[in-house]
Amino acid sequence: MNTTFWIQLLGVIFGLGMTYFTFVRYKRKELSKSEFLVWQGCWAVLIFVALIPSILDPIIAPLNFYRRLDFFVVVGFFVLLSLCFYNYNSMKRIEKKIEVLVRKEALESKSTENHSPNHDNFKK
């Protein structure tokens, strides 16, 4: 058994695992049908590429990568950076929405509004 076999095996196991988790999320109605299909498509591509990595050779060869694995590492890095950027923006958007909501709630439903008994007699 060479190293490539174990990497392929790990890829397939990971893909199958993620397929299962995606399915569970869909059944719990945490994912819409389109989201479910997009993610399942991603895992299917991952499993397919793990089983037959040579199908990527026409893309990898012109880019002069020494090994297929190098190509996966570089692409994986780009995907991770894009996800980081996407998550960062989503988080900022949600933070802003929460802030607007909480401040609005505080201003509209102020719970106590009193003045001190000697307020009218206040002298600067």
Binding site: R103, A106, L107, K110, S111, T112, H115, S116, H119, K124
Partner: protein, 217 residues
Amino acid sequence: MADFGVIPVHNEEKNISRVIIETKKYIPNIIIVDDGSTDNTFETASQLGVTVLKHSVNLGKGAALKTGCDQALKKGAKRIVVLDGDGQHEPKEIPRFLEALKENEMVFSHRKENKAMPLVLKFGNNFINNVSGRLFKIKIKDSQCGYRAFTAEAYQKIRWSASDYYIETEMIARAGKAGLKYTQIPIETIYADKYKGTTVIDGIKIVLKMLTEKMLR
């Protein structure tokens, strides 16, 4: 002239009573903004005859101050004094702020040399003061001291977007940009809890935000 004191608080059930009672001696209208406290801060403040607003979740000092100042403006404030709710700022200084506001649109304060000030805070403050002075062309002796006062007109010009500790710096940047007439007064500061307030991480974030703001505007 309608003067308002705005005090943001977060988990300050032990200090808030003293701060409110002391502040009441110097300013007629007080707005407390409880920024998602999990202790009895809200209940304690509510019993002391002041306006208390509550954020259902903790948003940060900047957001709490904005809520308080917006409410003050809604109630017809002409001058606003902002101070911390942890007892670090002495309410007895308020008349000096109001006096200085007669000739200025905004009053900043700077903490007097104090041996109790943690060394890391001293170094961090000096560094942030220098960077903000160079970037925004406004020389503030203590850029991180939150005890400040401004007129209602000035507030509309400096109304910040930061929800965290960057608020102090953003205020300075906006005041510099708007060309507000300002002055600085020295104040006494009490350091009660060294684990509260701005941390080193906050300091790094503040410097990074300053640089980003300078580059983008």
